[in-house]
Each structure stands twice: as C-alpha cells, then as structure tokens.
Assembly symmetry: C2
Homo-oligomer: 258 residues x 2
Amino acid sequence: MVRNLEYPKKAQNTLKRYNNRGTYDLEAIHSIINTTSVLHVSFPPGPDQPFPAILPMIGVMGSFDYPSASLDEPLDCYLHGYVSSRLMRIARDSAEGLPVSLAATKVDGLVLALTPNSHSYNYRSAVLQGYAKPVDTDEEKLYAMELITNKVVANRWENTRVPPDNVEMTSTTILRVKIETGSGKIRQGGPHDEAKDENRDEITEKVWTGVVPVYEAFEAPVPSETNKIKEVPAYLTSYVAETNKGNRDKALNAVNEP
Amino acid sequence: MVRNLEYPKKAQNTLKRYNNRGTYDLEAIHSIINTTSVLHVSFPPGPDQPFPAILPMIGVMGSFDYPSASLDEPLDCYLHGYVSSRLMRIARDSAEGLPVSLAATKVDGLVLALTPNSHSYNYRSAVLQGYAKPVDTDEEKLYAMELITNKVVANRWENTRVPPDNVEMTSTTILRVKIETGSGKIRQGGPHDEAKDENRDEITEKVWTGVVPVYEAFEAPVPSETNKIKEVPAYLTSYVAETNKGNRDKALNAVNEP
C-alpha cells in the first residue's frame, strides 16, 4: 500500500498563493469532504449561459469496488441532491460524464490581527474535480445511499426502515464522480502581524488580537410530533456528543500553530 | 420604496424542484449571504479546461453609491480572497466583467425520518449570479474593506489600526459583483414521512424521528501570544454572545414549520 498518496498537480489544481497552506494529500482532502454537511457542486454553463451552475449537495467519499478502502486511498465521490434534467442528460449521455468541481470549506476560527489586512480565518477547504455519471445499478445505489445516510448520522441507516422499496430506488438519483484532481488548504494558528505594527505601543495597547474558535454544534435532538420512541436512542446521543466534542476540539486545536 | 423586491426569474435561476421552498426575495437571499462566513465562488472553465474554477471567498452585500441601502434593496456583492491572475485579467479587461456564481448554504438541522429517502436537512441556501470587476478607486475599496472586516466581527474595523497604508491598499484586491439574478431555498420543520410507513407499528416503534438542531458556535476568544489588552473588549464579547444566541435560536426555531 502506497502511503501519503497525493493528487497529481495539474494546471487547474496547483495552488499558487499561500502554498505552504496547501495540501494534495488524499486523506486530508477526503476528510474535509466527509465532515462537511453540504458541498457546493459547480457545472459548466449551459448553452447561451455565461454563469456556471452551482448547487448545494450532500457528498461522501467511497469505493463500490473496494468498500474497505480507507480515506487515504483513491475514492469516488457520491453525490445526492437535485440535478436538473439537462445536467442529468449530459452526465448520462456523454462518454466521460459531466465535468464538475466540488468545494467544501470548514471555518475553525476568526483570526483577529492588529490591522484588517492581516485578519484571516482558520479553515480547512477542499476542492475536487472530476466527471459525474449517474449510478445505474441497484447494488451500487444501495451502497451509496447507506454511505450518505450514515454520513448525516453514524449508524442511522440500520436504524431506519430499510431497504428502500422499488419506488424509492427509482426516484433516487445518485451521481458518482470519478476524481481527476484535488487540492486542499488548511490554515491554523494565531494572527501574523507585521513588525511595523507590532513595534508601535499606541497600536498594540489599543487592539485586541487573538482567535475566536468556531465550530458546528449540535443541540439535543427534538422528537417529531409523530415520534413514538420515548428515549433518544444511544447511537444518536453518542453521535451528537462525539461530533460536538470532535468539532470543538478541532477549533480549539487550530488556535495553535501546527 | 418598493417592498419585497424580488430577483427576476430567468432560465438559470428558476427553481424547479420543491419550489414551495424557493424564494426570490432580496432580503432573504442577501441575509443568507451576509451571515455565511465563506461563499463558494465559481467561474467558467479556463481554456482547454472542462472544469469550472471554484474558490472559497469572503463576501458581503453592499452599495457604494447608496451606503444606507438596506438588505431588501438592490445591492452588489463585494468579494475578498485570492483570485488567479488569469481570472483577474478577464474581470478587468472584459467590458461586462467575469461571470461568476456565488453559493452560500447554512445547515440548521438534521431531519431524521422513518426512511432514509425522507431524511433531509433544515437549511437556508442562496445562489447569486453576476459580473465581477475589480474595485479600482481607493474610496470604494475602503468602503468594501470596512464592510468585509465588520462582517467577520461587528465593529472590528474601528477597533483595529486603520486606515490601511498605501502598500496595504495596493495589495488588496476586492471584486464587486453586479448581480443579475438570484434565488434562495429555505427548508424548515420536522420530517415528512409517508402514510405507508407511518401506519405501520413495527416501523414507528423502532425508528426515532425528529430534528437535531445545528448551528455555528463561537467559543470564548483566545488571546494571541503578543496581545497586550488584558480583558476581551466589550464589542467582541457581545458579538460572540449575540451571534451564538442568534444562530442557536435560528436552529431551534427551524425545528417548527414556518
């Protein structure tokens, strides 16, 4: 097994700025995608259209051929969400599929410096580019549906009414993106001010500098009106607690330089 | 003043699915953009490139000509972040500017239903499309820099070393996007299951249904190593407290149908 596999650097994914923050590491990039609730998926403009299409979708990395593959190995991205019939037709009918760019960004902190220009975010961002095709076998669709459901809440799939019936299978569209290239950017640490400001007392005695850690928090689950289960199930309470702890720790750890 | 101004419905922004969730209301869409830390900005593919470019950027709605304009009025979107020299050249040299699509999505809850197919997020998402040009006067650049800084933390600008010096002014690039069209989608409420599942005790007695509220939380500010201000300033503690309360309330309110 090759370790620390990296995406190839091509013209469109080679980071030019702050490239000490850049990464091509598969595991780092795939982790960002898998822990982001919503990806933004961009497609080329349609006929007579100057603007690219862009949509929020749920996405998760996986391999139908090698389900045991881990995050540091080559994976596809499975996407779920509404795709217009025009885009679906292109995805289905073209040999390679529909070219798409996926973006995921997590903010870990507000970095407050002496001057507005040195302000920043602590963040983790990832972009993947590849060709999207609709999944056409029921086996692969089921594999992807389970992966997507368990991305939202770990172990949720087996705690719902499964398998989906025929109508549900037919009405669900999943896109599989074969990844061509990818890149990530990670910024951690406190503010970096310039000596011209740091050496002036009238500035440093006036401006507070530091980091406000930011993370995605879950509140206690609220039962629906028709829910009949009295206690929130253990898999859900522990998912909520573990995700909160994990997200909060990431934000607090990002305050320090790596 | 025209109230409830809406973006025109054109081919590329007319929502086709779940359109009861759709909105074209300027205030609703601009609010989503302004409360989202990072936008994803998509540009058309470059020469010999199938994939659109997509970048995380900070963006905020504003009007240099009518600074007092409120969120329900026509506004530009000011963007800050790294844009490649190729894109910058197109933005500067073409008459209309660079066509861009901006996306912002906030997740307010995990909506857990009896079947995976009925799972959903509570969310607010917005897409804007328009033409980007670099801001070229110092006056407008200053206006936008203040707007962007105060989007990150309210009142931060006046509590830092300002104004930016000449080097800082020259090195900062701000894009102004003239908006052509926009649309938003808002989903609130609990799960919607189908009668075929709701009427079966062996399902409803096994599957917990409801909503896990989700929101972006701020932790207590952590001073930098060089910070000299002993107490966290009031504008910052109150911004942290108010943002936490506002975000949390939004997530909890979204549990109920509008």
